[in-house]
């Protein structure tokens, strides 16, 4: 068979080797061996599983040393072992579990409502022009209003009970979920839309097989922000107006200058935040198995 001939391959087959360009003198060979070329790496080396704990551990060591040497006044910040003892005490009396359960339940409910609302609004706004006109502007306005500023109204509308607290959390959560999902919906690959057309997919098949999976990475990213936001909102509502929960425990401790209890509260928040983020990341890894990324 004859060689393939192309009429118009841009760039063409078969590179042409250019003669040396006049005026540019080839570099004179040097006697030293050439320095090894630095390897260009876009990705990091494979990270150690628990590598991220190094910073916190160093902080702990620093803190311990300062407390041990008496450099750190225990009224400002109690020693680590005091905090541990207090935590053990709180667990033994059952106070910590009780407050923790209440806080977690509030956050979970707020997160659930916020997530569902965020996804629903993003779908309506992303998949219909009119929906976009109605919803997107409102959400952008809402973004500009800090949660703290909303709370007086929320108290007026929902009272000071659980409904208000969960609503505040939900309202905080839905914004990042909406934004990232909406963004992902808008960025659906036009080539996939064409494919759906040529395959004759119905609207619901199109949404189920093309739109939603395509927007899933964005949704999950929004969820990660949303989870963090839910804890943030939780702290705000519990410290303002509550008679239970970790935030209440911390506020109460502040009134009695119990720095050790306050510290336990902080650590609990940190652990909760970490744990919930880890859960979302796990979901992400499971749901986005099809992706080939740098992180592997």
């Amino acid at each position: 068979m004859n060689a393939h001939a192309f009429i118009d391959t841009p760039g063409g087959e078969g590179a042409v080797t250019h003669p040396p360009i006049a005026g540019i003198v080839p570099r004179r060979p040097t006697l030293r061996p050439p320095a090894p070329r630095p390897r260009i790496r876009l990705g990091l080396d494979k990270p150690a599983r628990w590598g991220w704990t190094l910073g916190p551990l160093l902080l702990l060591v620093y803190w311990t040393v300062l407390s041990e040497t008496g450099f750190l006044d225990s009224r400002t910040l109690p020693a680590p072992w005091v905090a541990v003892e207090t935590a053990v005490d709180l667990v033994r009396t059952g106070r910590l579990q009780e407050h923790f359960a209440i806080s977690a339940w509030r956050a979970a409910q707020g997160l659930a409502f916020g997530t569902v609302t965020g996804i629903a609004l993003a779908l309506v706004s992303g998949l219909s022009l009119l929906g976009g006109y109605v919803i997107d502007g409102l959400v952008q306005l809402k973004r500009g209003v800090p949660v703290l500023a909303l709370i007086p109204f929320m108290v007026l509308w929902f009272g000071v009970g659980e409904a208000m607290k969960i609503s505040v959390i939900a309202i905080t959560v839905f914004v990042p979920i909406y934004l990232h999902t909406h963004n992902a919906l808008r960025a659906i690959d036009i080539r996939h839309v064409e494919l759906a057309e040529t395959l004759g997919l119905t609207r619901s098949q199109f949404i189920r097989h093309v739109v939603l999976p395509g927007a899933l990475p964005g949704l999950l990213l929004g969820l990660r922000f949303g989870v963090t936001a839910s804890w943030l909102a939780l702290v705000v509502v519990e410290q303002l107006n509550a008679t239970s929960g970790i935030g209440y425990m911390v506020t109460l401790a502040r009134n009695y200058a119990q720095t050790d209890v306050m510290l336990v509260g902080l650590v609990i928040y940190a652990l909760l935040g970490l744990a919930s983020d880890a859960v979302v990341r796990l979901v992400q890894a499971r749901a986005l198995r099809w992706r080939r990324t740098l992180a592997g």
């Binding site: 068979m1 004859n2 395959l199």
Partner: protein
């Protein structure tokens, strides 16, 4: 027999690029037509008009096409979040869809890869999945828009053999858009040349089945076609001529 595809006075205008200027074309059922032309000659525009993918275009003219049309794009266009078999049967109803999907995958020599993710396949394998996805729909008309343009030369030759075999078994009407002269001769029954939105030549390939007469006819056709595009097919000069032409 009436034509499978019938186009009369088809014109398309875009603000940006791609123009068709009164195209008339008939394709018989089961016929394999290669649409050859330079970039910007309007060949993709014609294909997209037949596939009903040109919503943004203005134009006039008549198009009659069969009901079941399949499109193979230059990129395999698999959904990355679906496994290979799910991609093949996407949007298909019926209890036996998956069975037929497996058969189609076997036909493109990808049996056993049903559960792979698209990114685990090579470019050629992905394009074969795309072929299986078209095949399983038993298209009356197969539209292929430079389907092998992104593949390396060796893979392309294998794909030619595969496509020829598939089209001989299933006999869909095929319209293959390409800029590869040899590919057009190799695969098509008929070559239609588009230039500036008009059909300027319509050539029956009529390649003998085997032997030296086939090679002769191939070479003659290739010379004729390349000459049409202003390329002198002297073996020693062809490469340079092509370079000049591209420039």
């Amino acid at each position: 027999m009436s034509a499978a595809v019938r186009i009369r006075g088809l014109s398309r205008h875009f603000t940006a690029k791609g123009v068709l200027d009164g195209v008339d074309l008939d394709i018989a059922p089961g016929e394999f037509v290669a649409l050859l032309g330079r970039s910007g000659s309007g060949k993709s525009t014609l294909l997209r008009a037949l596939a009903n993918l040109d919503h943004e275009a203005e134009g006039s003219g008549e198009i009659h096409v069969p009901e079941r049309i399949s499109v193979v794009f230059q990129d395999a266009r698999l959904l990355p979040w679906m496994r290979v078999l799910d991609n093949v049967v996407l949007g298909l109803g019926g209890d036996d869809a998956r069975v037929r999907g497996r058969q189609a995958l076997a036909e493109v020599e990808l049996a056993g890869r049903e559960r792979s993710w698209p990114h685990e396949l090579s470019g050629g394998e992905q394009q074969r999945v795309a072929l299986a996805r078209s095949l399983v729909r038993a298209p009356q008309l197969l539209l292929a828009d430079e389907p092998f343009g992104a593949l390396d030369a060796l893979t392309r030759i294998r794909m030619h053999a595969l496509l020829r075999r598939l089209s001989e078994t299933h006999r869909p009407t095929v319209l293959l858009v390409t800029h590869d002269v040899a590919e057009a001769i190799e695969l098509a029954d008929r070559i239609v040349i588009l230039e500036e939105g008009r059909i300027v030549r319509d050539i029956a390939v009529a390649l003998p089945a085997e032997g030296p007469r086939r090679r002769e006819r191939f070479a003659a056709l290739q010379t004729e076609l390349l000459a049409l595009f202003g390329i002198d097919d002297d073996p020693g000069l062809a490469h340079n001529a092509k370079e000049r032409h591209v420039a």
